[in-house]
């Protein structure tokens, strides 16, 4: 099982579907960011599995995954500080309560 690309692809598809469900069904801003992390990790798993089994260029796949991790860190950084700011100015991090973006 650990040497078949299908296993990794199925797990990645599961992670992506779970993340999409979380993205659409949560109201809390931080919970939505958690779902986005799941989506990004599904993409990373696909990069690594396909790079190893299909494309036979694992080093390049790992570099790609590395960049995804770096950009995910940047995204989380800004997103979480936005959540703190949102909570300080609006008193809530629920996206439908704080939905109006105009100041």
């Amino acid at each position: 099982m650990s040497s078949s690309v299908t296993t990794y692809l199925i797990l990645s598809a599961f992670l992506f579907a779970t993340g999409l469900f979380g993205l659409l069904s949560r109201r809390n801003f931080v919970a939505i960011l958690i779902s986005v992390e799941l989506l990004l990790n599904a993409a990373n798993l696909n990069f690594l599995a396909l790079g190893r089994f299909l494309v036979h260029d694992p080093a390049r796949a790992q570099v790609f995954a590395l960049f995804v991790i770096g950009l995910a860190a940047a995204e989380t950084c800004v997103g979480l500080s936005l959540a703190v700011l949102l909570f300080r100015t609006r008193g809530s991090v629920l996206v439908d309560v704080t939905g109006r973006l105009k100041g």
Binding site: S2, N28, I34, N41, L66, F67, V78, L80
Partner: protein, 170 residues
Amino acid sequence: MLSELSGIIREAVFIAFVAITAYGAILAVTLRRVFYNALGLVLSLFGLAGIYLFLEAPYLAALQLIVYIGAIAILMLFTVMLTDPRQAQAMPGVARLAGAALAGILWFGLLAVIYLGAPVTTSAPASAGIRELGLLLLGDSVLAFELVSVALLVAMTGAILLAQKPEAKS
């Protein structure tokens, strides 16, 4: 490390990591309280780090533990504590149902694509050493590497600016 394990034990460890990843992902989106969601995310990311070991990517596995669990997840836990942890209600039923339906459609669509469209590979899987990774990172893709560095710097500066207390600005 993992190549020394014998066949059955290796498969058992792999299945355990897959189960941990899937279970953590489910916990991360279904539990009501955001704090527990973040802990579920930690579980899922830990399982993924184990799976990266099976994909012969030990450097990525270590980075996954350090960056995701060590930094991102901890940051999320702190943010949950800084914001109101009780505000964790799910969307109203309609949106939740629509989300579940869309995710289900996507899940079965991806499964169909995987089973119908995936080419069968007969050649042996390839693996890359950490040396090749470093040479590629600072050779071919050095421009992207520097851009990611700048993006991280800008994001951190922006995060500091955004989260500053209003009275500290003036």
